[in-house]
């Protein structure tokens, strides 16, 4: 079943992937302006996706949520098939039935995506249990991505408790992007709540700068080593920021401009560019070339998606039952 890509080997690859994610999502924003279905973009959170996914192996599984483009692309999903899915076309990963909100790509080990906040957390322990009971490739683990808002749902604790109690090979990855749709995190939970709550369950918890791809990778690799060794879960809180609205379109009128400025100044892509420049691994020309290449690949993807056929109405009830 598995044909997941090899782990992107270098910081430069991670920059490339982040550029691709951003270009892909910017394209979706443009499409939405022209009437395509809206999406939840992950602009500003790309380092979380590339950092964690870089630490995973092909035998591992990912369970994710509504804000999943980064996880999918970092895992090797083709932008053209993602875009076709968002547009509801047959060549999408789910034949157009999902749209943007619940894209799974089983061939990449991205399974059971749910747009019900907390749905990802409810299913991930079962995927991990199956790994543990011998259903995946030996030693495989599961990474579940969810938001700070999801931590407010009771299922967050039920999943943590089960994972700890049953010693499941499960990495909890909370992308704390400060916002829960139209409500700021601090309006719904105490500061530091996520890490404190997780610690109450007695598993290893680390809070990391989620806008630093290399820091995320390092923390994820460390947590995953713990999981593979002991067969028991671990928890990462990635502190990051949702730079765009909750869903396209969303004018973010409810966000303080200073907050946006603060976080835009900490953009994960800029950060990676600066790091690579400082290390002499890229220069302005190289960056421009990369960006151009990314744009081109997105343009190709778009053409593919837009010409992909609509699913036939006769297929409406296909795949309801196995």
């Amino acid at each position: 079943m598995q044909q997941a890509p090899k782990t992107p080997p270098s910081p430069l690859t991670r920059l490339e992937t982040m550029l691709l994610i951003r270009a892909y999502e910017h394209q979706l924003v443009e499409l939405q302006k022209n009437g395509a279905p809206g999406t939840c973009t992950s602009v500003g959170q790309e380092a979380c996706a590339v950092g964690v996914v870089a630490a995973l192996e092909s035998r591992d599984r990912i369970v994710t949520n509504h804000r999943s483009a980064g996880h999918l692309i970092a895992r090797g999903a083709e932008p053209r098939r993602l875009m076709a899915e968002v547009l509801g076309r047959v060549d999408g990963y789910c034949g157009g039935r999902s749209g943007s909100l619940h894209i799974s790509a089983r061939e990449l080990g991205v399974v059971l995506t749910s747009t019900i906040v907390g749905g990802e957390l409810s299913m991930a322990p079962g995927v991990a249990l199956a790994q543990k009971m011998g259903k995946g490739e030996p030693g495989g683990i599961v990474a579940v991505f969810f938001g700070d808002g999801a931590a407010c749902e009771g299922i967050f604790h039920e999943a943590l408790n089960l994972a700890v109690q049953w010693q499941l090979p499960l990495l909890f990855v909370c992308e704390n992007n400060q916002w829960q749709a139209f409500v700021h995190r601090l309006e719904t939970m105490p500061d530091n709540a996520i890490a404190n709550w997780a610690k109450g369950h007695g598993l290893p918890v680390e809070t990391v700068d989620g806008n630093d791809a290399e820091a995320v990778l390092e923390a994820a690799a460390h947590a995953i080593a713990h999981i593979r060794q002991g067969g028991s879960p671990a928890f990462l809180e990635l502190v990051t920021y949702r730079q765009r609205g909750h869903f396209e379109p969303d004018d973010q009128a409810y966000v303080a401009p200073a907050e946006l400025d603060y976080w835009r100044a900490r953009d994960p892509i800029d950060r990676q560019v600066q790091r690579l420049k400082a290390q002499g691994l890229i220069d302005d020309n190289g960056l421009t070339a990369l960006e151009r290449q990314t744009q081109a690949s997105i343009a190709t993807a778009l053409a593919f998606a837009q010409t992909s056929p609509w699913p036939a109405p006769e297929t409406l009830t296909d795949h309801v039952y196995a």
């Binding site: 749209g99 907390g118 139209f182 719904t188 409406l316 309801v320």
Partner: protein, 328 residues
């Protein structure tokens, strides 16, 4: 008489909330983003009465139940109907049962709002017409309006009702405009259907945005000399049995049209109602035109295939009239 103004269903909801909050200090609103979304209500009534909640539907609904039993009149916004699955214990086991199980010690005047329906290509985890589940649930009421005036009048009635009311909002109607009275005393009583068009040959029953589909079909049928009566249920529970039965006793034929899937749905209930209580009047089989027994797909092409279209209503009517004639 008070003036009529043109507004969208979304504005009608806001107006209903504003009027009821002004009328009764016990009414308050909470939900994930309620204060963000209704900034004007926060300004008017203060942050205690318009609350953003944590992202946790079970405790939102449970808190509403506890507050309602203690003398407040909460309105909760659960956003999309499928998210109510997290709130089912509070809605079904607490709000629906604890008055009864306590021998009438408590009242639960609360309103739970949820959006659903096709039109936004959001897929089955946002778009799932689960109103029938709550019609099947004892102790609660269920409404689902079809036009701005009803959004206002029914929401106000729901807020004033002493029982838990599920208020379903068909997405496709939110931006639609209509005439709404400014009269703050105007309500639409729960349990009263509306005859949107009179006719003699067939009764088309529907609710929410599918009422417009039936009206369109009725106009097309009129061109062929067929006179269809269109009933808008408005309240799904209590159901206005008499309006439906009277209509079918007149027309002799019933077709129920809705987007929700058919099995154990509203159309099933009406078919049963009529075939038990108006059987002698029936001049042909009851017809159900409903969404399929399938989750709702996101793809526009497939989502449209879910929606009962006027043509289907027209064709099914023509077929029924033919069949009915051959049967009688």
């Amino acid at each position: 008489m008070s003036t009529m103004i043109q507004m969208t269903a979304a504005q009608a909801i806001n107006l209903a909330l504003r009027e009821e909050m002004r009328r009764d200090p016990d009414v308050f609103l909470m939900g994930e983003g309620s204060a963000t979304k209704h900034r004007d209500l926060v300004d008017a009534f203060g942050p205690d009465r318009v609350r953003n909640t944590p992202l946790a539907e079970a405790i939102i609904a449970g808190t509403a139940v506890g507050a309602a039993a203690s003398g407040l009149r909460p309105v909760i916004d659960l956003l999309f109907a499928p998210f109510m699955t997290y709130a089912m214990d509070a809605l079904v086991n607490s709000a629906g049962k604890l008055r009864y199980l306590s021998g009438g010690q408590f009242r639960f005047p609360l309103v739970a709002m949820g959006m659903t329906g096709t039109g936004w290509c959001v897929g089955a985890q946002h778009n799932h017409n689960i109103e029938a589940m709550f019609v099947h649930t004892p102790g609660v009421k269920v409404v689902m309006p079809s036009e701005p005036a009803d959004f206002k009048g029914l929401l106000k009635a729901a807020i004033r009702d002493d029982n838990p009311v599920l208020f379903f909002i068909d997405l496709g109607l939110l931006c639609q405009e209509g005439e709404v009275t400014e009269d703050p005393d105007f309500i639409i009583p729960l349990g009263k259907a509306a005859i949107r068009r009179s006719g003699d040959d067939i009764t088309l029953v529907s609710y929410a945005k599918t009422v417009a589909v039936c009206l369109q079909a009725a106009r097309q049928l009129a061109e062929r000399g067929i006179s269809a009566e269109v009933v808008d249920l408005r309240s799904l529970k209590p159901l206005d049995e008499n309006t439906v039965l009277d209509s079918v006793r007149k027309t002799g034929r019933l077709m129920v049209v809705h987007e929700a899937s058919g099995l154990c749905g509203i159309a099933a209930e009406l078919a049963a109602l009529v075939s038990t209580k108006a059987f002698p009047s029936l001049r042909g089989p009851v017809v159900r035109l409903t969404g399929p027994d399938a989750p709702i797909p996101s793809s526009w092409a497939l989502e449209q295939a879910v929606v009962p279209q006027p043509e289907r209503v027209v064709n099914a009517t023509l077929e029924l009239l033919g069949a009915a004639h051959s049967v009688n």
